[in-house]
């Protein structure tokens, strides 16, 4: 086990710990230390370890000026996996400055921006690349360098983002793998500017009484690559046949428009995320443009304090459609996700979310149960169970068949 975290990230963590000990006016701090134990049901062709212990730490500090107009944020995280080195990570999640004017604001630096309203898939969320190494479900994102200017417009708020640099999503190598290894060294960009392509994005959002609406746009490097098959050169030379040995990621240019909306009707929430995208690069021959649509439609119904229970029980139902068929980009062409959420109002703020995702075409099933509860003022216990069932060979999740697992974690918050 080798621990060699990036110096800057360690500095942020140490400063956070010191800051949390003596809070000052205008400064706020928080942090988390966590130990994970992941127990897999099976070994795989590339991993004969069933137990994967890992350690994780994160810290965040924020400074706000006395008039509240200027602020600065630093947030970093560090992960050490005792088995899978591809899931070790030191990450500067946020490092940015913000100014708030009378009717406008601006920020610059590395940020995390979340867009969207549904749970099963984050379709319109495009600014940050997924960090699949830290969490295989893509819920953790890489910090994105950006410039942002925003202000009031048409009763809502408009934010415009300039993204001067693209960070490739990180891929784990032992578990939660793509069907073939991803050859990072063979990564190509269809645009000659590569990672330095200047991407643009915008979001306008407004609340109309019980309905929130967001309109988003993006032009630049697609956050999810097209995966092209790499053939074994010797087999190709000797027999003229392609034996696939790896995927080479191709980052195309994408133009997309997104809509997200949520309406609240008493205990019922109706949600929609929709995306129209045009991919490819007309400046390069053989990479014609393709336009397609994707959507997630959802319902969430919440019963408050049912059966004398001090808490809420929610039912979640979401339906995913995606016309994207090429490049193994997504497993969610036609999927239904159904689940139950339990939130207790107890001293430990106990919560549980059980979700089942069924592919309506292939019959693939993904089942997850996440639960957590607090102990005392600083500790939290959490557990996650993931089952992957009936996954066909040519599916983006085909290597997940042996990755059924239970993860238990203990966190100390400060």
């Amino acid at each position: 086990m080798s621990i060699k975290p990036n110096g800057l990230v360690v500095a942020v963590l140490l400063i956070t710990a010191a800051g949390a000990a003596q809070a000052e006016d205008g400064l706020s701090w928080r942090g988390e230390l966590r130990a994970d134990w992941t127990q897999f049901a099976d070994t795989t062709a590339v991993d004969d370890e069933r137990s994967h212990p890992a350690f994780w730490a994160s810290g965040r500090g924020k400074w706000t000026s006395a008039d509240g107009q200027n602020s600065a944020v630093l947030e970093a995280s560090w992960r050490e996996d005792t088995v899978d080195a591809s899931r070790d990570r030191t990450e500067l999640r946020e490092a940015w400055l913000r100014h708030e004017g009378e009717s406008w604001h601006a920020s610059a630096g590395i940020r995390q921006i979340f867009w969207g309203v549904v749970e099963s898939r984050h379709l319109v969320n495009v600014i940050n690349s997924s960090d699949f190494a830290e969490r295989f479900d893509g819920e953790t994102r890489l910090g994105q360098p950006l410039l942002n200017v925003g202000g009031e417009l048409a009763g809502g708020q408009l934010d415009v983002y300039l993204l001067p640099y693209f960070r490739e999503p990180t891929q784990p190598e032992l578990r939660f793998r793509a069907p073939l290894p991803i050859a990072g060294a063979l990564t190509t960009y269809t645009n000659r500017d590569g990672r330095q392509h200047r991407d643009w994005a915008f979001r306008w959002q407004r609340s109309f009484a019980n309905i929130d609406v967001g309109l988003t746009g993006f032009q630049g490097t697609a956050r999810d690559p097209r995966l092209t098959v790499v053939c074994d050169p010797q087999v190709l030379l000797a027999f003229g046949q392609c034996l696939p040995i790896a995927f080479a990621p191709v980052y195309e240019q994408s133009r997309q428009l997104g809509l997200d909306a949520v309406g609240v009707f008493d205990a019922l929430q109706v949600k929609l995320e929709a995306l129209a995208r045009e991919r490819g690069d007309s400046t390069k021959p053989g990479t014609g443009k393709a336009t397609n649509l994707a959507s997630v439609t959802g319902l969430e119904y919440t019963w408050s304090t049912p059966f004398q229970l001090d808490g809420d029980v929610g039912l979640v139902l979401e339906y995913m459609l995606d016309q994207e068929k090429t490049g193994l980009r997504t497993p969610f062409q036609k999927d239904l996700a159904a689940g139950v959420r339990l939130t207790l109002n107890d001293v430990g703020s106990t919560s549980l979310l059980a979700l089942a995702n069924v592919d309506m075409d292939k019959g693939t099933r993904m089942v997850s149960v996440e639960a957590s509860t607090r102990l005392g003022e600083h500790w939290r216990l959490a557990g996650e169970l993931w089952l992957f069932q009936a996954i066909p060979v040519l599916d983006p999740l085909s290597n997940f068949r042996d990755d059924d697992h239970l993860q238990l974690s203990v966190s100390y918050f400060f």
Binding site: K62, F114, S349
Partner: protein, 253 residues
């Protein structure tokens, strides 16, 4: 004819009593209004029936409504795992409140259904409806009489929640006759038995506003209690509607 007269006189008696109750509630509301905006730091100490304690700390900001209801922002500091979480509420007297929750781990602002009025607030003996700013329209009233408390005279009134999702069928509330401040409230549950008693203490004057330093909620059925303390009251900081939008919520963290 005599029966009709009797009915009529009963009706007028009830109507008269209702008017008196409503009038008192309005006076109490008017006296506690006109502050424009306020902020305070809150500490809650939760005690279970064995005396074990746990703490909650949060910062609160309220923007007083004009035609529409109040807007409030709660930012959680303790326990540490919810640090950075924030709850934005746009209260409405004519429809359900609008609520958004900011989840710091995902940097996500999430619209939430606000129907869980009767649910406990952070595991305390206060429910969400207990910590909401008082709105006259939320109840119908009946004047019940006067009580001598020490040297003071307190008015006793019955408050019947209008909202069908309320966890209470009936409340009995006391206002002091001098400054019309809520002093004590008894909450009766759906079975009409006494559930909780809330007492306010340590009232202090900030400009023309009286605010309590402490509120103690005791659950008569479980023996649990919660003491809520307010510190650092701030009035007229010049907050405006822009500080209370879902877009601004992410910047609270």
């Amino acid at each position: 004819m005599r029966r009709l007269l009797l009915c009529l006189s009963l009706l007028t008696a009830t109507a008269f009593a209702d008017d008196r109750g409503l009038e008192l509630a309005r006076t109490a509301d008017q006296r506690a209004s006109g502050y424009k905006d306020m902020g305070a730091d809150l500490t809650m100490v939760l005690k279970d029936k064995l005396g074990r304690e746990s703490r909650r700390e949060l910062a609160m900001q309220v923007l007083e409504g004009t035609s529409d209801g109040d807007r409030s922002l709660l930012r959680f500091d303790v326990p540490a795992d919810v640090k950075g979480t924030a709850l934005l509420t746009h209260a409405h007297s004519d429809r359900a409140d609008d609520q958004w929750l900011y989840l710091p781990a995902l940097k996500r602002v999430k619209r939430i259904s606000s129907s869980s009025q009767s649910g406990s607030f952070m595991g305390s003996e206060f429910s969400y409806e207990d910590i909401k700013p008082f709105e006259v329209e939320a109840y119908s009233y009946r004047y019940l009489g006067e009580d001598k408390v020490g040297a003071e005279t307190w008015y006793r009134l019955e408050r019947l929640p209008v909202d069908k999702d309320s966890g209470y069928t009936r409340q009995v509330a006391w206002l002091d006759g001098k400054e019309y401040r809520w002093q004590k409230i008894e909450f009766h549950d759906r079975k009409s038995t006494l559930l909780k008693t809330l007492t306010f203490t340590g009232y202090q004057r900030y400009g023309n506003q009286w605010r309590p330093a402490q509120a103690t909620m005791v659950n008569a059925q479980t023996g649990k209690s919660t003491v809520l303390q307010w510190q650092n009251y701030r009035f007229g900081a010049g907050l405006n509607g822009k500080d209370f939008t879902p877009e601004a919520l992410a910047n609270v963290d």
